[in-house]
C-alpha cells in the first residue's frame, strides 16, 4: 500500500505498527477499511507468536498468595516470600497444631502451677520444644525440592536466615501470646509474670523464655542440616527435655535454675556459639552429607 492516500491515517497506523495502542476512532476505521488493515499488516513489526506467548504466560502465571501479598506490604520481595512460605513449619496446618499445643500447655500451666502440682510451668517447657521442631522442619532438608533449590544461585546464608528468621518469628509471636495469657491468669507476683514479656523494664529476664528457645532451635537446625529434620527435632527437643528433667530432679527451685540470670547467661553464650557454627556450616552451601546421602 505504497500509494496510501491522505484519507487514510498513515501516521496513526505507523504508530500502531510500532506498538502504540490504537484509539477507538482508529479501531472503527480499521473495521471498515481493508486497505488500512493490509497496510498495518505490512508495516507491523509485532511478532504475533512472541506476543501471544507473553499473553499466555501472564494468563498462566498464578496470582500472589495471601501470604505473599502480606509480605509484599512489608517490603519483602516476591522470590523471598515464596521461598519462605514453602517452609513446612510455616504452613497453616503446622501453625494450627502449634497453637493447639500452646493452648493446652497454657491451660495446664494456669490450672496446675498455682496448686503447686507442678514445679515447672509447662508452657515454658513447651515453647523450646515447639521451636526445635519448627527449626528442624525449616531446614533445607525438609524442603521436598531441596536438591533443586540448593543448585540455584540463592545464597545459602540468605536461605538460612530467611528460613530460621521466619520460623522463629512466627514461634515468638505464638509463644509470647501464650505466655502473656498464662502470666496474666496466674496470681499477681507469681514468677511466671517475670518471664511473660510484660516486664521489659526489668532487664534480660523478661526474655527468659526466648534464649532457651533460640538455643534449642539452633541445636535442632544444626543437626537437621547435617542429618535429617526428624533427627534435628529429636536431638534439640531431647536435649531440652533432659535438661528440664535433670534440673527438676536436682534443684529445689527449678524455675530459677532454668530461667534465672546464670542460666540465661549460659543460654546466651550457647546461642552465640551455635549461631556461629550454623552460619559457618551453611555458608558453604553443601546440602548433602557423605554420611547420609550415600548413592
Amino acid at each position: 500500500m505504497s500509494a496510501h492516500t491522505p484519507s487514510h491515517p498513515s501516521a496513526a497506523l505507523d504508530a500502531v505498527a510500532n506498538g502504540r495502542v490504537p484509539d477507538s476512532e482508529l479501531v472503527a476505521h480499521l473495521e471498515s477499511c481493508p486497505e488500512c488493515v493490509a497496510y498495518l499488516g505490512s508495516k507491523a513489526k509485532l511478532d504475533l507468536d512472541y506476543a501471544w506467548r507473553g499473553i499466555a504466560a501472564e494468563l498462566d502465571a498464578p496470582l500472589p498468595s495471601t501470604g505473599e501479598r502480606l509480605l509484599a506490604l512489608l517490603g519483602v520481595p516476591q522470590w523471598l516470600s515464596r521461598f519462605t512460605l514453602q517452609i513446612p513449619s510455616l504452613r497453616p496446618t503446622w501453625l494450627s497444631c502449634s497453637t493447639v499445643i500452646l493452648v493446652l500447655a497454657t491451660l495446664v500451666t494456669i490450672r496446675l502451677v498455682p496448686t503447686r502440682a507442678l514445679d515447672v510451668p509447662v508452657v515454658l517447657v513447651v515453647v523450646p520444644l515447639l521451636a526445635a521442631f519448627a527449626a528442624a522442619f525449616a531446614s533445607a532438608r525438609a524442603d521436598p525440592a531441596y536438591e533443586i533449590v540448593a543448585a540455584t544461585p540463592l545464597s545459602p546464608i540468605t536461605a538460612l536466615f530467611a528460613r530460621l528468621g521466619a520460623v522463629l518469628g512466627a514461634n515468638v509471636v505464638l509463644c509470647e501470646v501464650a505466655i502473656l495469657i498464662a502470666g496474666n491468669r496466674l496470681t499477681t507476683g507469681h514468677r511466671l509474670r517475670f518471664y511473660s514479656g510484660l516486664s521489659v523494664g526489668r532487664g534480660t529476664l523478661a526474655l527468659g523464655w526466648l534464649l532457651p528457645m533460640a538455643a534449642v532451635a539452633l541445636v535442632a537446625a544444626i543437626v537437621s542440616a547435617r542429618w535429617r529434620p526428624l533427627a534435628g527435632a529429636a536431638v534439640g527437643g531431647g536435649a531440652w527435655l533432659a535438661l528440664v528433667a535433670v534440673t527438676a530432679w536436682i534443684s529445689s527451685d527449678p524455675v530459677s535454675s532454668l530461667w534465672g540470670t546464670p542460666a540465661e547467661i549460659a543460654y546466651a553464650g550457647a546461642v552465640l556459639v551455635l549461631a556461629f557454627l550454623l552460619g559457618r556450616s551453611s555458608a558453604r552451601g553443601f546440602v548433602l552429607s557423605p554420611n547420609v546421602d550415600f548413592d
Binding site: G54, A61, R82, A145, E147, I148, T152, P153, F286, D295
Partner: protein, 282 residues
C-alpha cells in the same frame, strides 16, 4: 562449556564411591553409563555443588566446586534434574517452574513468565500449566523437572537418570527433547540404560565402582566389541556374556565359541559388557 574432573575421589564412610576420576567433558551430550552404585549420581551431585568431594576437584570452565564464590558462578550456569525429583504437590506446574525461575535470579516478572512459558512449551507442557502437580503422572512430573532445569537457559545441564519411570513413548519423546537441548549446551546425563546413550549421546563415560573404564564416542565403545560377538549354539566357558535371542541362538560375547559360530555386528551394549568385564574388580 568444559567440565573437568581432576583426581576426584569421594567416599561415603568406608565406601569409596569415586576413585581418582580424571576426565574432561566438552559441549554436547555425554552419557555417564554404569550400573547402580557406579558413582554416576555422586559425580553429578559434586558438579551440581551439592556435595563436597573428599579429594580432587570438579571444575566448570575453570570455576571450582570447592571455592565458595566460584560455586555461585557454577550455579548460575547450571540446570539440574535430580534422580529423586521432589516437587511441591499443591503448586501448579507454572507456579513451580516460576518459583525456581525466581531462585535462578530471573526477577523481572514479565520476562520470567515468558521464560517459564517457553520452558513449558519446550517440554510440551503448556496445556497443563495450570494443573496441580499432585494430579500429574510420573512422566509428566519428570518433564516438569526438565522444564525447571532449562528455564534459565543454562549452559550446563545435569540430568540424573532422567528416563527412570518413563514409559517407552515418553522415553522416545524425552530423547528427542534432550537431543534438541544438547545442540547448544553441555549435557551430562547419567543412566544405566545403554539405549539412552545409544540414542542421544555424542560421547560416553563408562563408570564401574567409581572408576572410569572408558571415555569416547559411542561408536568407539561399540567398536571395542568388533570380532568378539557371535551367534552360536552354545557358549564357551570363557565367554564374557551370553544370552538366548529370539531366533533361538545364543548371542555370545568373547572369543569364538566354536566352529559353527558366526560373527555378528556388535551393539553398544556388547561394547559396554565387554569393557565392564575387563574391570579388575569383577
Amino acid at each position: 562449556m568444559n567440565v573437568v574432573y581432576e583426581n576426584l575421589s569421594h567416599s561415603y564412610g568406608s565406601v569409596r564411591a569415586l576413585d581418582g576420576i580424571n576426565i574432561t567433558i566438552g559441549p554436547g551430550i555425554t552419557g555417564l553409563l554404569g550400573p547402580n552404585g557406579a558413582g554416576k549420581t555422586t559425580m553429578l551431585r559434586i558438579l551440581a555443588t551439592l556435595l563436597p568431594p573428599t579429594s580432587g576437584t570438579a571444575r566448570l570452565d575453570g570455576w571450582s566446586t570447592s571455592h565458595d564464590r566460584e560455586r555461585v558462578e557454577i550455579r548460575r550456569r547450571l540446570g539440574y534434574l535430580p534422580q529423586d525429583l521432589g516437587l511441591y504437590p499443591r503448586f501448579t506446574v507454572f507456579e513451580f517452574v516460576d518459583y525456581l525461575a525466581m531462585l535462578k535470579e530471573l526477577h523481572d516478572p514479565r520476562q520470567r513468565h515468558r521464560r517459564v512459558r517457553e520452558a513449558l512449551e519446550a517440554v510440551d507442557l503448556q496445556d497443563v500449566a495450570g494443573r496441580k502437580i499432585r494430579t500429574l503422572s510420573g512422566g509428566i512430573r519428570r518433564r516438569v523437572g526438565i522444564a525447571q532445569a532449562i528455564v534459565a537457559d543454562p549452559q550446563l545441564l545435569l540430568l540424573d537418570e532422567p528416563t527412570g519411570g518413563l514409559d517407552p513413548e515418553q522415553r522416545v519423546r524425552f530423547r528427542q527433547l534432550v537431543g534438541r537441548l544438547g545442540e547448544h549446551r553441555t549435557i551430562l546425563l547419567s543412566t544405566h540404560l545403554v539405549e539412552d546413550v545409544s540414542a542421544i549421546c555424542t560421547s560416553v563415560v563408562v563408570l564401574w565402582h567409581g572408576r572410569v573404564l572408558f571415555q569416547g564416542a559411542p561408536a568407539e565403545l561399540r567398536k571395542r566389541a568388533e570380532g568378539l560377538v557371535w551367534n552360536a549354539q552354545e557358549a564357551s566357558s570363557d565367554a564374557v556374556a551370553s544370552w538366548r535371542t529370539d531366533n533361538g541362538m545364543l548371542r555370545v560375547i568373547g572369543t569364538r565359541p566354536g566352529p559353527g559360530a558366526t560373527p555378528v555386528e556388535p551393539t553398544l551394549e556388547d561394547g559396554y559388557l565387554l569393557v565392564t568385564s575387563g574391570s579388575p574388580t569383577r
